[in-house]
Amino acid sequence: MIAILDYGIGNLRSAEKTLERVGAAPVLTRDADVVAAADGVVLPGVGNFGRVMQAIRDAGVDALAHAAVEADTPFLGICVGMQALYDSSDEVPGVPGLGILSGHIQRLPDGVKRPQMQWNQLSFRRDCALFDDVHEGAWVYFVHGYAPEMSDDVVATCSYGAEVVAAAQHGNVFATQFHPEKSGPTGLRIVGNFVEQCRPDRGEAR
């Protein structure tokens, strides 16, 4: 079972349908027991960083996210759900993120339209289980005005005015700035690869 953290905003339905399509059993929840029992946890997110952080805290989802990461449960943050994992954002200075990944969220470069609202190509920086059978240059769908700064955790980037972070991984924490649930067959593959990481029998191998 994969827990989709439900804090009341965001297009949770798309994440749910995509997980179902790749054969997983998603549950929308903010129940600590359900999250603790989950084989994987997904944190979706759209919109303003400050509003998302506020909603995450109001729903108690911050504690659930920290607990899941401490338990080494495979975790996937999507879009603003990725940004929420970091320390802070240019979008709303002073509002702390979850601090699960180190770094700051910065505004997309000048000279390009913000938000980036389009398909763009992935460029890999290092191997990551999310991208098994996904080739360099694969197209995925982005909608965002901000992105994490470059760090050692970054596994993929895209080119949009400059090199822009597209995905990161730190241990069992995975994060995509793009929307795999809206990226057609490539996105289904990426979500499927995450689900593969969540198989209970992988616990011994980890």
């Binding site: 905003i9 297009n11 339905r13 798309s14 349908k17 995509t18 399509r21 759209v46 919109g47 303003n48 509003r51 603003v80 390009v112 339209k113 913000r114 938000p115 609202m117 389009q118 398909w119 763009n120 190509q121 059978d133 996904v134 080739h135 694969a138 197209w139 769908y141 909608v143 965002h144 005005g145 080119s159 949009y160 005015g161 929307h179 649930e181 809206k182 990226s183 057609g184 067959p185 490539t186 996105g187 289904l188 593959r189």
Partner: protein, 264 residues
């Protein structure tokens, strides 16, 4: 690569059924919007727009069902427009799986709605649709283009470029710009209108209205400076596929996502 133009088929939906003739030879049910949406997805459409033109109020909920079913079958972004008047209207559609909502007349009537939807759900799902016409000699607006509402029937006296800039300021994440002069003519986009709005705003602009050939789609980007192009009839009648459209656009030097992406 930076800007990649999007090709967006638009489906007019009346009481849950696609209207305007749809003529794919092998569709089981040519009137089912979700079946058509899947077809466009397979052809390489970058996004889809469902425009609800349902007139009778008792059939209004049918578009919610279309959004729900589309979310189950289609794994590319889709927008629902038509009849959205309140934050709650938008919420119902987004909750069942729509990615964006498009507002038009309701935003002119009450511009705060743009801000409310943008604050509540994020600018990325707040599309402001603008229907514009060239001004006649009487009472021209500043740019020479005037906003019309109610499907292009009602004059507002509002300048189209000024309204686009204002919509962005209010929180719109994207502008869906339709030339009502060109809509249905197949004479091509109104390039002057498209370019005027695209240069005036910082958010993406979708050009709409008038596409009759695949070259028109490329012109919308190369000359109109649009970020995305929307068309209905050239795709519906099976004249052209989205893949053909992208091939023509690429040949004209427009960056597009090729339709034959890997795992298909």
């Amino acid at each position: 690569m930076s800007a990649v133009a999007r090709v967006i088929p638009c489906l007019d939906v009346d009481a849950g059924r696609v209207v305007k003739g749809v003529n794919f030879v092998d569709l089981i049910d040519a009137g089912d919007p979700v079946e058509l949406a899947r077809r466009y997805d397979e052809q390489g459409a970058d996004e889809l727009v469902f425009l609800d033109i349902t007139a009778s109020s008792d059939a209004r909920d049918t578009i919610v069902d279309v959004a729900r079913r589309a979310a189950e079958e289609v794994f590319i972004p889709f927008t629902i427009g038509g009849g959205i008047r309140t934050v709650d209207d938008a919420r119902r559609l987004l909750r069942v799986g729509a990615d964006k909502t498009s507002i038009n007349t309701a935003a002119i009537r009450r511009p705060e709605l743009v801000t409310e939807i943008s604050r509540e759900f994020g600018a990325q799902c707040c599309v402001v649709a603008i229907d514009a016409r060239r001004c006649g000699d009487d009472k021209p607006t500043e740019s020479g283009f005037e906003v019309f509402t109610h499907g292009g029937r009602t004059r507002t006296g509002i300048d189209a470029v000024t309204w686009a800039v204002e919509a962005e300021r209010l929180g719109a994440g994207e502008i869906l710009l339709t030339s009502m002069d060109r809509d249905g003519t197949r004479d091509g986009f109104d390039i002057e209108l498209t370019s005027a709005v695209s240069s005036a705003v910082g958010v993406p602009v979708i050009a709409s209205g008038g596409v009759g050939t695949l070259d028109h789609l490329a012109e919308g980007v190369t000359e109109g400076r649009a970020d995305a192009v929307l068309a209905a009839s050239i795709f519906h009648f099976g004249e052209h596929t989205v893949a053909e459209a992208k091939a023509v656009m690429a040949a004209a030097g427009v960056s597009v996502r090729p339709p034959d992406t890997l795992t298909r």
